[in-house]
Amino acid sequence: MKRTGPERRRAPHRTTAGASAHLDRRLEPTTRHSLDVILPTEERKLTLRAGQSVRDALEHAGLHLHAFCGGVGLCGRCRVRIEAEALNELTPGEMNALGGEQRERGIRLACQARPASNARVHLDAAHIDSAWRALDESPGGARLATSTPSITTAKATGIAIDLGTTQIRVSAWDRAGGRRLAALAGFNPQSIFGADVVTRIAAASASRATAEMLRNGACGAIREALAHLRDRHFYEADAVDRIVIVGNTAMLTILAGRNFEKLLRPETWMSPVECLPVDTSALRAAWSLDEIPSIDLVAPLAGFVGSDLVAATLASGLVEGPPLSLIVDFGTNSEIALWDGTHLWATSAAGGPAFEGCGISCGMPAERGAVTRVRFPSSSGHAPSLEILGGEEPRGLAGSGVVDVVAGLLRTGHVNGTGVMSRACAEAGFVLDPGGILKFQRRDIDVFQRAKAAVAAAIEVLMARSGNAGAELSRLVICGAFGRHLDAKNAFEVGLIPVMPPERMEFLEDAALCGSERILAADDPARLLAPIRRCARVLNLALDPIFEERFIQNLYLRPLAWKGTS
């Protein structure tokens, strides 16, 4: 047993019931310890059962920690500082997620740590807070979102919702004036059930209660966002007459409360999955709406490829533009579509959560304290310079920062094309910050390689299946928060995206939300989306024989260049 203080032998607990001096172990009450939770503005005293994990004790007290893996020690997101005289040994998950220095400081994974004595755990807001924040208009967003005012009642307001796996985006839209009133982005609390969609739908399929909790998680978050929008941005709740929701198929089925288990069966991956709720009363109740507003869950394309990709495609005008145009939404499941002038070839690639900053030992989502840019100095011996969100102390690397680090290590010779680190770095990792808190390990390179190989291979499969292998792209649209800080040159160097003239690249952070707003503004949404649905061809990479070969080739850190790229 690991001890952080002087060893104490614990005396066995004796029952006092009856005159018997024998210790009847079956009647022994479970050993309990106190767990002091140190929060930023308060301290709470909880009780912890022997053998219970810190995360579990916190959950029971309503303190939900972010976990992208469902709490099995996979994602490293629940890193907390724990002080206890007696703690279990480090588990394999912790060996993987925690560096030596972190362990020395008493950092453990809350889901793995099981104190055998009284303990104290330190939590900060980032562990548990969902944090709704105003969404900046992306440069192209305002232009795309504006449309001709629709002929409706003067105060008609629409609500657009992009229900993402990791982030939820919500906006209030003035239907009469044809413009966005306000928008918010926040973290999807369903992440405590798992980072990726498969983990969540597996959990939902295993238990009705879990399915309910997952749905309530999303509903509750949206309710919060609507309240924030009302209170701070002054739209009128009773003027809401339309709500449009887009998302990937898994998210929509969980919200609708049905059919998520179908997504676990490969035979359904090529067909459309019904995502409309049997009735919308549960949603109306959650959002304090009467019968008047229409609630429209926009149907996905097929399999995992959802209506968020449809909305993003709409917002970017992809199918009205020239061939070959590519749109990529990087995430745990990255959605990718290629317009070749006739068809929209669409797919979903699961590469792991590296783009969300997860699965990387020093990674984190793009929140306060996240390092979004890393610039390596021209001469060695100097530390890289870091750009940090919120300008505070660096707490972890965001996805774009990870790309910068891999490119920088490659360029400076600390890592080779196979992804193998030099001996000097391999032992302790490559230190990024003066404080020595952020250390990029060799297995972080491996995690990144797998994620980018999946996306690069998906792009190549779409090019090949559409008969365009080796052709030149005229346009690349990158969606999502990941793209916001992404450095194109570094992305080219590691083979994340095809090499192309940077002026052909566009970054649309809230493309799916913008698309939902266009759907809100349309008198006939079905007609608006018909061209996209008609020309869409969904591919399932798991069923495609060339994907694996391309995946292996794209593990290597080198530019993704083919004949037509420049």
Binding site: V198, D446, A542, I552
Partner: protein
Amino acid sequence: MNRAHIRAYNEAVYDTDRQRAMGIVEAALGDGASPEQVIFELVVPAMEEMIRSISVDFDANLAQHFMTAQIASEVTDAMIARFAHPPAITGRIVIGTAYGDMHSLGKRIVIGCLKARMIEARDLGVNVSPERFVDEAVQANASVIGISAMMVHTARGEEGCLGVRRILRDRGLEGHIRVVVGGAPFRFDPGLAAAVEADAWAPDGVSASRIIEDMVKEVRL
């Protein structure tokens, strides 16, 4: 086998340099090594070396794992063609990815490495039902069933290893056929393999080939 060749081959595999590895094989043959020696004194020891360094400290990435298997498989194919006598098969296994799961790279690595160990592996593909695992194992006269599962629900599910165990038990085959599992869920939850009633689990494809070899020899005794 010349020590210099062993060192050079290990480095080539570590660097995932297929061509260099092939060059060293040719050099070794030129120096008088037999095709059998190339496999048993060069290829397999290089695999063992990788397994050793993985167990000490996760030293190899996916690209390296894959190329180790790929090079081993290619060299073995080339060498077997030149064997003086047809090689003795150490054993037979069937291997596939669990029901509902489509990840195939892991088992591909296992199969490549097994080739060098003279173990015949019948690849059942992906999304394999427990019934099919057992039927094919019986038909192939296999002593081991290898199940790859990359997602928690396919690793844990009733149609995964648990299903295979149930059918083996129902058909009275437990003494004759062992079950080995592998995949990320098993690596992150060491209790999982036991919970799904596997006989053994492997943390990666290269290590799996060694665990399977041991198991095949065990069942033979």
